[in-house]
Amino acid sequence: MLRYLIRRVLYAVPILVGVSLITFILFYGVVPPRQIARRNLSAKNPTPEQIQDWLVAHGYDKPMPEQFKKHMTELFLLRFGRSDSTGEDIAARIRAGAGPSFLIASLIFASALVTQLFMALWAAYFRGTYVDAWITFLCVVSMSVVFIVFVIVGQYLLGNLMRFFPLAGYQSGLSAFRFAFLPAVVGVAAGLGSGTRLYRTFLLEEVNQDYVRTARAKGVPEARILFRHVLKNAAIPIITSTVLAIPSLMLGSLVLESFFGIPGLGSYTYDAINSQDFAVVRAMVFLGTLLYIAGTILTDVCYALADPRIRLE
């Protein structure tokens, strides 16, 4: 196991190098730094000297190869530098934003998993009846609705009808849960369709197996079959598909966080996009890749742990 992990981590290094190369080409090669400078200067009409000053201050004035070297080393040392538009330390903001994003991500992950499994089991238990047909139909429908519409309509309905939880904002500590509720509900509702359909497929595959028929013949109640036996065996494909989703959740759904005022990584990225802050977007792309690779490694490990037939060599 350990050897496998080390090999996977080592294999990730050239991937990260490739990613840094791509980001460099994109951000340094295509857009002239003068344009970036102009955007970020507060003056109503920046003079050429002011532009030059800004370029020097942010390191955009050096020749290309030097910038490339600087870019690669800094990324790998996780020294993300300063934001183009506000000049603040990017790494500090990432550390500050990781907490809220992780909270929302894990809440959505846990709730979504539970809800989707519940609905999939519900559909599997009532398979063949109108309940199953309706659930499948609702899943396809929910998959076809744009995420934005979920957020807009969700905030409109939830914010004005229910008054249990605050509309927006954030506080660290235990009361963070209050602020995570609304975005979590919207996030779960939006992802409900695809997950439920997928798990239902896995469950139904298992339900047709021989061991289920045996159990039924032995007199085991239907509910217990589903929960005890089918679920455990369907766990393997379920795990594979869910663990892979964690890194994207971590990125904190740009849309959710900006709508509900959660100061996480997602809203940080969203603000950077809006203010064309290349330094921050570079850093987030690298971070996102790092998390994704970690997610894939974690998936393989979980897979191996769950399924004893698989041996990692």
């Binding site: 344009q35 507060s42 003056a43 846990a110 709730s111 539970v114 008054r163 605050p166 849960f177 139904l204």
Partner: protein, 674 residues
Amino acid sequence: MIRSVPARGVLAVLAIWTLAGCNNSPYPPGITKESIFFMSQIDDPRKLDPASSYRDDEGKILDVICPSYYEYHPLKTKVFQLKPMLGERDARREAYNYTDAGGKAIAGERWTFHIRHDLRFQDDPCFPSGKGRTITARDFLYAFRRMADPVNGSPVVSFFEDKIIGFDELIARNRERQKRGEPADYDAPVAGLQLDPADPYAFSIALNQSYPQLRYLMAMHFTSPMPYEAAAYYGGDIQRHPVGCGPYVLESWTPKRRIVLAKNPNRPPESYPDDGDPGDAEAGYLAPAGRQLPLVDKIIISTITENTTGWNLFLQGYQDAWILKQTNFQQAFSQQGMLSEEMRQHGIRLVKTNDIGVTYFAFNMQDPVVGGYTPARRKLRQAISLAVNSQEFIDLFSQGNGIVAQGILPPGIYGYDPAYNNPWRAYDPSLARARELLKEAGYPSGIDSKTGDRLTLYYDNALTTAGGRQFVGLISRQLEALGIDFESRSQRDVVWQNKIDGNNWQFTDYGWLADYPDAENFFFLLYGPNRRPGPNLTGYDNPVYNRLFEKMRAMDDTPERLAIIHQLRAMIEEDCPLIFVQHTETMTLYQGWVGPVKPNPIGNTLHKFRSVDAALRAERQREWNAPVVWPLAVLAALFVACNVPAVLVVRNRHRRHVTQRGSSTPVSPSCSVT
């Protein structure tokens, strides 16, 4: 006992949620009972550095942290009045003759300032003991030197550069140093920045010309005293740690979340003024007269980017003030243009302010098609100007609030004439005169008489948002009625700015808010030498205008100045380089528990006059936010109702198999039911 994992999971999640508290206040419990003012902003200020912050939102926060020598009297808004704030008395202004390096005799002027002796900086870790020290004249001059340091990127240094003696040399020297990677020069003496060796609380600024507007600049935070210790201690982070001597200090700034201003124990004593404009006493603005400022202990400004969210928080009572936007208008207003019944019952008040500014469309005077000073081109511009209906803009985007702009000066500036009617801004729906002028300009019915092509006007703008698109749609419709082809090119701010600077545009939109209440601040927008990279966007360069402007800019507000202003106005009218749209108004809603604050469009220190009745606020918030439970109950009932038939069906399925086999012992169904 619930054994299944999913069910346990659901219960756990529910438990956490209920434990965390069941009220919808976004603030920690009990905080709304304290002497705090809550407001919101759409976005964080970019930075809070007195030397370089120019934007409106930055100024509103900075001016109560870093006050200046002068301040605008908060209640005198009919005619704006400066009164000494950090200064002990009014500055002395005298003629100053000297010879420059080339041996030429210059007739300049010198201003001498005396500051109060009881000023202290706020307590801040940048000071050795953590305690703020006394402020001397040297700190005021340090602010000027910070403006001359290119690292700070001060946008107003051009106001001073060519006027303070020796300042331009200092700036040039600093640039050289920066190219070499050295820090700027803060020690070398500058002829125009003079300290009094006998009095540490006095300093003088010597200019090479008459510049009455220096008074106004001494009321802007660029000239606010700054401790050199802060620059040394914070380095690049100084932009997020302003250190001043104002009524508030920046207690904390959590990026993209909130800014907290707290009362400064080191502030110079200051009390609420007891005089104002006629009518202030009746409006309640003189009620807090004599009280110590600031009136609340803290100001908490939350950053809320989504309009819906902010508006709903205001309605729930969690925000004390809200700037009204087009989208919230109909809920706030009833049909008659008065505050709606719902708002009034909640005790909400509306306050209207005239923004001292003007919005306009601009022609590029160097463009081969629309620019130039020949009669034909003038007529073309005048024709286009006649097709723009300002009132429609006001109706659609400001719900009818705002004044149609006839000229460049807004109300509140000396020289503004409410009776003035610009003939080229008189909109006539039939567009008869406009079409006539268009024909005379060589484009009958919009078609170029020489080439047979339709005249195409290219509109470069940075209006990429949904609201911006509506604006573009309106101007497109208005101008296409003339018969010309109107093509809008919306692009990102950066790209748009590049185009303007590269002289690569024909028609665009712009606006200007007064830096200070003087006509010079508006007429300089069309002063020839101020062309790009200065604020003269259009590149308008009329030698007669330039001469008259130079004559009037240093004058006091006298009838002679008024005469020149009328002449300038006539020239702008004739040449028509700008199509004036409106003088905007801002509408702010205040909750019933907020004390009255007189709006002041030039003075940015409103925060120190805010007051709240905290007990009333806590009570109202509780009243307005009682939780609503019935939707949950309905949903649960619906869920149960939907699934009951299914349960019955499945149970029947099982039972059917049992009875079919005819056995009395319960057996499970035989075949799988797929």
